[in-house]
């Protein structure tokens, strides 16, 4: 018996009151978008508070499941048998077949959980439970009923058709993309920022990203690495417009004019300013960074305060209170870790002071920035307008 349909479970969006339909429609749209990349044809449909994905052609089960597991807003994916109603005997035969196929005659406990949405079905739900339970027990002497902690929950949904499923595979969770606006992710080649992008996208936020390129101090491969990371994140977040900003001129100006222990913090302030300008141009409502308290000198509470002061837009820092290992765990789960640890990142170390400030003083930093003169503003404007923007999908 080949699985032809999946029942899609979503939790959080079901409680969003009047907006519920909007959320559901977005989810259907996102599933359909994702399934387009899977070989075969699929019908994605919302009926009576349920979303079904049905294969219309031959397809690869693992590929389809993997695609569904990349869609935010899905809590569970239930591989399902959908049958037309040809009477209870027919249903009972299908359920026994299903159990045989899935579990053979293993000694396990089960419970039938029927829901009768179509009230004109001749049996009510407790009668369905009892009779199907009996049929399963008759067919598989090794199985037992356990109504409290069954190994297998046999779900029967009587609607226009009848759905049979026994397994709920964990989905990516979160909320459907496009239901919570758009953010500008500051994407470096490191471990943190792709995870920050993933986590924010998981809350339904669509992504733009900005990467600061500093040739010849960072290489073409470092840039390719960022494109690769964006591609992995895009598997979850959908297409990402990646804004590649040439930052060399600004870095050199800061290096020339500012105290060296302040290089990183001033550089970060300019990154925030440029990211904000790009965000405004691209209808983003927030910046997203991978900062985490105390991870490096530029991420102490004081440094974050000074960095934050450079822009006005909301800055989302989903990793702010995460331990490094927790961030690594997520990056391994979403598949960015291996790319993040490629070694093409650190050739711009000359811009990192040997002993950077950890407790920067805002006024001191502002004075240093003042030394950069008016020309730095022009450089920043030029960097924004000259940014290249490949779309990563």
């Amino acid at each position: 018996m080949k699985i032809q349909s999946f029942l899609i479970k979503y939790a959080e969006i079901a409680v969003k009151g009047k907006n519920r339909y909007l959320f559901e429609d977005k989810l259907v749209q996102q599933i359909a978008r994702r399934m387009k990349k899977v070989d075969g044809k699929f019908d994605v449909r919302k009926t009576a508070g349920r979303i079904y994905v049905t294969a219309l052609t031959d397809y690869d089960y693992d590929e389809a499941l993997d695609a569904l597991q990349h869609v935010f807003g899905i809590v569970g994916i239930c591989p399902m048998l959908q049958i037309e109603d040809h009477g209870f005997e027919d249903l009972s035969a299908h359920v026994v077949d299903w159990m045989k196929e899935k579990y053979g005659n293993r000694p396990l406990t089960f419970k039938v959980a029927a829901r009768r949405a179509r009230k004109n079905y001749p049996l009510d739900s407790s009668e369905i439970n009892a009779k199907l339970g009996e049929a399963i027990l008759d067919a598989f002497p090794q199985m037992k009923v356990d109504v409290h902690h069954p190994d297998v929950l046999v779900n029967i949904e009587v609607r226009e058709d009848i759905n049979i499923y026994t397994e709920i595979i964990k989905g990516a969770g979160g909320m459907p993309l496009g239901t919570n606006g758009r953010g500008m992710l500051l994407l470096s080649g490191g471990i943190d920022s792709p995870v920050a992008g993933y986590m924010t996208a998981r809350r339904g936020v669509e992504l733009d990203a900005v990467y600061f390129h500093a040739p010849p101090y960072t290489s073409e491969r470092a840039r390719q690495k960022v494109v690769d990371l964006a591609k992995i994140v895009a598997r979850y977040s959908g297409p990402i417009r990646l804004h590649v900003v040439n930052f060399t001129e600004i870095q050199l100006a800061i290096y020339d004019k500012c105290p060296h222990d302040e290089l990183t913090i001033i550089m970060r302030r300019y990154m925030m300013r440029i990211a904000e300008a790009l965000a405004e141009q691209n209808d983003c409502q927030a910046l997203i960074t991978g900062e985490s308290i105390g991870q490096v000198a530029s991420q102490t509470m004081k440094s974050l305060t000074v960095t934050n002061e450079a822009c006005h837009m909301l800055v989302i820092r989903p990793l702010i209170a995460f331990d490094k290992q927790d961030i690594i765990d997520i990056s391994e789960k979403i598949g960015t870790y291996e790319t993040s640890i490629e070694p093409y990142e650190d050739c711009c170390t000359i811009f990192v002071a040997k002993h950077p400030v950890t407790k920067p003083n805002l006024h001191a930093i502002q004075r240093s920035e003042h030394n950069l003169g008016a020309v730095i503003g022009e450089m920043a404007e030029k960097a924004v307008s000259a940014a290249e923007t490949p779309e990563i999908d």
Partner: protein, 386 residues
Amino acid sequence: MKEIYLDNSATTQPVPEVREAMMRALDAEYGNPSSLHRKGVEAEQLVREAAENIAQTLKVDPKEIVFTSGGTESNNLALTGTMLAGHRTGRNLITTQIEHASISATAQFLEQQGYEITRLGTDQQGRVDPEELVRAIRPDTVLVSVMMVNNEIGTIEPVEQIGALIKEKNPNTLFHVDAVQAYGKLIIRPRRMKIDLLSVSGHKIHGPKGSGFLYVRRGVKIQPVLWGGGQQGGLRSGTENVPGITGLGTAAKLISQNLDEKVDRLYEVREQLVRGLRSMEGVTVNGPEGRECAPHIVSASFAGIRSEVLLHSLEAEGICVSSGSACSSNGQRHPSATLTAIHLAPALRDSTIRFSLSFFTTAEEIDETLQTLEKIVPELRRYTRR
């Protein structure tokens, strides 16, 4: 943008004759050399011609040429094949600290299998001391493996002297030479030099990538590392890469024509580059002088500049060079074994660039490269980590 390609020790541009020869093997003469029919015979003929062309350049027998996928496979086959075949007579392999990774990593693997590896150091020019090498030879030394030209700094090793001394001390000890950077630049005579095995790569001599050969002197027993249909006398199973072999044979023939003349000219171009580099402040040229160095490799250290930054700055001007050796630039940063072995100051190891020339490199290109360096080096020195 103009392109000045000075990374010929990483790879070279295939010449048109090579492309054409390969096209024939891909197009009309596509047979499998093992097939009994006409198409097979045609293809076998291409392989035979290539072996003959190569054998001619070394003055050896075509039957002594085993085609491989390149330098790495040749080196792997030479080391693993002789050590496995010689396990009854001994367990010792002598090599040096400055070998290419395809030698040093294979030696390390053999060490893990229980073989004993002796790794000789070099002097500050990267030269192995033949006397020291001979002292290291034991009754159970199966193989000595020394490169002919160092890929990072261009040192020419005293291979002929080493070959003679080995056979004097222990006639049973085999001698393998990694000639990947030497073939097509130096005259190589395996018989006179007492070389038993010699590795060569096709794409370093304007041939195709994925091609190479191992010369195996008749009578030398080696254990194959690839098993299968028994092609190439059972030494290297697998359907022959006929297009690659044809390209390699053509490249070998072409590069050996008028070699003396071409090498003389190349040394002039090299000297021009070395002179220019030496006249620049804070630049040192590594490796030996003049004819003691290969004609195509120049290693130079630029104090206070990270090699990768200089490399990308040159790239922005259309000039391609390498930081250390291209293979050691892959993946994690390891300090270069060669630069460590010659006791280059640690601060300079990460500031070292390799320029590698070809017979097609012109004096104008070198001029332009030097001018570009004069311009960008002071700029880059302004921005160093403080």
